[in-house]
Amino acid sequence: MATVVRTYEPGYWDKFYLPAIARGLLLTLVRMFRRKDTIPYPDIKYVPADGYRGLHRLNKDEDGRIKCVACEMCQTACPAHCIDIVPEPAPWDDGGEERHPAKFEIDLLKCIFCGFCELACPKDAIELTEIYDYASFSRDDLIIDREGLLKVYDITSMGNIYERQNRGESIQIDTGNL
C-alpha cells in the first residue's frame, strides 16, 4: 500500500517569518511571569516523587541492629547479578536474628534499579531511596558495602533527603569506602 507523505509547504505569510517570531516571543513573555519549570540544580535539589527508585539502603530495626538476615533472596532475585552477600552467624547475645551479612555489596554501576531486591526481601531490610546524585571518580567507589548501605539508612530515615537539603541541612552522600 502506498503511503501518502505530506510535506510542509510554507504559505505566503509564512515566508515573512515575523508572525512566527512574534508568537515565540509572546510565549517567552508569558513564561517570564509564570512559576519556573527549571531549578538551579545543584543549589536547589530536585525532589523526586514518592516511590522513586534510587540508591539502596539497608534498614535497621528499633534497636539499631541491621535488619538483613542475609537470606540472599535479593541476590537471587536480582536480574543484574549485582548483589554479593556473604552470610555469617550473628552475635548470640544481641537479641536479634541468628544470621546477618558479613559482606553485603551492591555494584551500583551494574544495578538497573528495578527494585526487585526490595520486593523479594522477606524482612523489609533493603529499600531503594530517593537518592540519585552519587557520582564518583572511581568504579570502586560505586560498589557500596554493608556499612555504606547502613549509612544511607541513617541519612534517609529522617525524611526526604533532598527536601532537607533544600531547607539548608547539609547531608553528605558518599558511596565510597565509608
Binding site: A70, C71, P87, P89, P122
Partner: protein, 534 residues
C-alpha cells in the same frame, strides 16, 4: 504376585512390599516425613495417607503392606488393592496434617539452612494450605547443641523421630531420645552424653526439615547457589558415594548419596568434613628444595629437566624406584606401573604405606574401613609388578625415587624414611604439604581430591568415577598428566593420553577384572570388577 492399582496405574508387586515404596517407585508422589528407607517404620507423621478401597479410613502408605486378597474379595475381580492418592479426602487430610505440623513451626525460612531443600517447604507448597487458622502464640524454644558437629533448632522440629531411630538402629549409640510428652515433646540428649559418634552428621541429612543443622555448614551459603557434583569419598577404602556441594570453587559441604553397593544411605564424619584438610595450603607450582632448606618455585619444563639430569647422574633409569599411591585414582598409578616396568626388569615399585586402623562396624551395617588409603585395592589391581613392601625396594641402590604422595596420608617412618634417605634425589607428587613432601628434593603439584578425575576401587572391588567439583589453580596439573609426563621424560616415549578417560580406557583394556568397565556403565553408582562380582 499381588496386582494392585494406584491412581489408575496397574502394578504387579511382590507380596509384602510397602505401599509407599511401590507408589514412589511408580513415580506417584506421596508426601512423607517419618518414613526413611533405611529406618524402621513408625507411622507417626500421618502425612503419607492414601485412600484404599474397602477401608473406611485413610491409611498411612508407609505402614501398609501389600498382600494377596482372597479370590472372592478382589476388587473388580482381579485387583488385590485399589489405592487413590489424590481424592478429595486425601487432599483434605494432607492439608490438615500439614496445618498441624506448622502450628508451632517458626517459618523462619530466611535464616534456615534447610530452605530450598526442605520437606516442609516443598510439601506445604504442593499439598498444604496457604494460611493457618492458629491464633495463639507459637511455642518458642531455644536452640541447643547436641554434639560437636550438630545443633538442633527445637522450634523447627516436626517430631518425625528419624534422628532418634538413626541413633538406635544405624549407629546403635542411642544418644538421642524423645523427651517429654504432648506439647512439651522434644528431641534431647542425655546429660553428658553428646551426639558425637562417627556417623553423627547423617542426622542433619535425614532430618526432613531444618531442625538438625551441621554447625560446620551453618549460615555459609544458601542451597540454591550450590553446584552438586556426584562423586565418591576417597578417605577410606569403603568408598561411599557422596555429593560435593560447592560455590565459587570452594567446597561448602559434603552430603551422603545413596549407593546400596557401598554403605547404603550414609557417610561418616571423617569423609563429611575431610574437605577442610585440603583447603589450607594447596601447592600451586613445582618446587625445588634449595641448599638453605628453603623452597624455590620453578616452571614445569625445568622441573622435568632436573629429574632427567638427576636420573642420568644417579645410576640411570635402572636405579629409579617408585612408590604408587593408595590415595590417588587408578589412572596415575596405572601409568606409573607401566613406565616403571619399562625402566627395569626388577620390581622397582611398591605401594606407599598409609595409616592402617581396624575396621569400624555399626549395628546398621555401616562400615568404616581401617585402610585410610582409599584406593589400595585399585592400585594393586592396576600395577601388576608391585613389590611386596617398601622394604623390598631396599635390595638395590636407589638413584631417583618417585613418590606419589597424593593427599599426604603417608606416615614418615621405618622403611619409607630409610628409602628416602638412601635415594639421591626424591620427587614427590602431592597436592599439599606433608611429612613426605618436607623430605623431598622436588615437589610436583597435583589437583586436590575434589578437583580430581578418575576411577577409584574400594576394598570390595567397586569401581567408582570421581567427578571433579572444583577447578584446580592455574599451574596445577591433573595427577595422571603429571605422572604421564614424568614417564615421557624417563622413557623418552610420548604418552598418548589427552584426558583421564583415555587412561581409564587403557586400564580396562589391560587390567584383569576391569574388562567390562566403561565410563558410561560406571554411571553414578559404579561397577564391581569381575573378580569382585564373581
Amino acid at each position: 504376585m499381588p496386582l494392585i492399582k494406584i491412581d489408575g496405574q496397574e502394578l504387579e508387586v511382590e507380596a509384602g512390599s510397602r505401599l509407599l515404596d511401590v507408589a514412589l517407585e511408580a513415580g506417584i508422589e506421596v508426601p512423607h516425613y517419618c518414613y526413611h528407607p533405611a529406618l524402621s517404620v513408625v507411622g507417626s507423621c500421618r502425612l503419607c495417607m492414601v485412600e484404599v478401597e474397602g477401608m473406611p479410613k485413610l491409611q498411612t502408605a508407609c505402614s501398609t503392606p501389600i498382600g494377596e486378597a482372597p479370590p472372592d474379595r478382589k476388587v473388580d475381580g482381579k485387583y488385590d488393592m485399589v489405592v487413590h492418592t489424590d481424592t478429595d479426602k486425601v487432599v483434605a487430610g494432607q492439608k490438615l496434617v500439614l496445618e498441624f505440623l506448622l502450628l508451632n513451626h517458626p517459618l523462619d525460612c530466611p535464616v534456615c539452612d534447610q530452605a530450598g531443600e526442605c520437606g516442609l517447604q516443598d510439601y506445604s507448597f504442593k499439598f498444604g494450605n496457604a494460611h493457618s487458622r492458629f491464633d495463639e502464640d507459637k511455642r518458642v524454644r531455644a536452640a541447643e547443641e547436641l554434639g560437636s558437629g550438630v545443633a538442633i533448632n527445637q522450634n523447627r522440629c516436626i517430631m518425625c523421630t528419624r534422628c532418634v531411630r538413626f541413633t538406635q538402629e544405624i549407629t546403635g549409640t542411642n544418644e538421642l531420645y524423645v523427651h517429654g510428652r504432648g506439647y512439651d515433646t522434644k528431641i534431647a540428649i542425655f546429660d553428658g552424653l553428646p551426639l558425637d559418634n562417627p556417623l553423627s552428621g547423617n542426622v542433619a541429612d535425614i532430618c526432613p526439615v531444618g531442625a538438625l543443622l551441621l554447625k560446620d555448614y551453618m549460615h555459609t551459603t544458601r542451597v540454591w547457589h550450590l553446584s552438586h557434583t556426584e562423586s565418591a569419598c576417597v578417605e577410606c577404602s569403603s568408598g561411599c558415594s557422596i555429593t560435593v556441594d560447592a560455590t565459587d570453587n570452594v567446597v561448602r559441604r559434603i552430603v551422603s548419596r545413596r549407593n546400596d553397593q557401598a554403605n547404603g544411605h550414609f557417610i561418616c564424619d571423617f569423609g563429611r568434613y575431610s574437605f577442610h584438610k585440603y583447603e589450607r595450603s594447596e601447592f600451586k607450582e613445582p618446587m625445588r628444595k634449595t641448599p638453605g632448606s628453603g623452597w624455590e618455585m620453578i616452571p614445569w619444563r625445568q622441573a622435568y629437566q632436573l629429574i632427567a639430569d638427576k636420573v642420568a647422574a644417579g645410576g640411570g633409569p635402572g636405579a629409579v624406584k617408585a612408590l604408587a599411591s593408595p590415595t590417588l585414582p587408578n589412572e596415575p598409578n596405572y601409568i606409573l606401573g607401566q613406565f616403571m616396568g619399562r625402566l627395569s626388569d626388577r620390581k622397582n615399585i611398591a605401594l606407599l604405606p598409609v595409616t592402617q586402623l581396624s575396621d569400624m562396624e555399626f549395628p546398621g551395617g555401616f562400615r568404616i574401613s581401617g585402610d585410610k588409603g582409599g584406593n589400595s585395592r585399585g592400585a594393586r589391581d592396576v600395577i601388576p609388578a608391585l613389590a611386596a613392601s617398601v622394604k623390598a625396594l631396599h635390595k638395590t641402590d636407589t638413584g631417583v625415587i618417585i613418590i606419589l604422595d597424593g593427599d599426604g596420608r603417608a606416615e614418615m617412618k621405618g622403611d619409607l624414611t630409610r628409602l628416602m634417605a638412601a635415594a639421591q634425589f626424591s620427587v614427590v607428587v602431592a597436592c599439599m604439604p606433608s611429612e613426605v613432601t618436607q623430605n623431598a628434593d622436588l615437589v610436583l603439584p597435583i589437583a586436590a581430591p575434589y578437583a580430581r578425575e578418575g576411577t577409584f576401587t574400594n576394598d570390595q572391588g567397586l569401581v567408582q568415577w570421581l567427578q571433579p567439583a572444583l577447578h584446580p589453580p592455574d599451574d596445577v596439573r591433573a595427577d595422571w598428566q603429571v605422572v604421564a609426563e614424568l614417564g615421557q621424560q624417563l622413557t623418552g616415549e610420548d604418552h598418548l593420553y589427552s584426558y583421564a578417560g583415555d587412561v581409564t580406557w587403557k586400564i580396562t583394556q589391560t587390567t584383569v577384572g576391569y574388562g567390562q568397565i566403561t565410563r558410561f556403565r560406571l554411571g553414578k553408582l559404579g561397577q564391581f570388577t569381575a573378580s569382585a562380582a564373581g
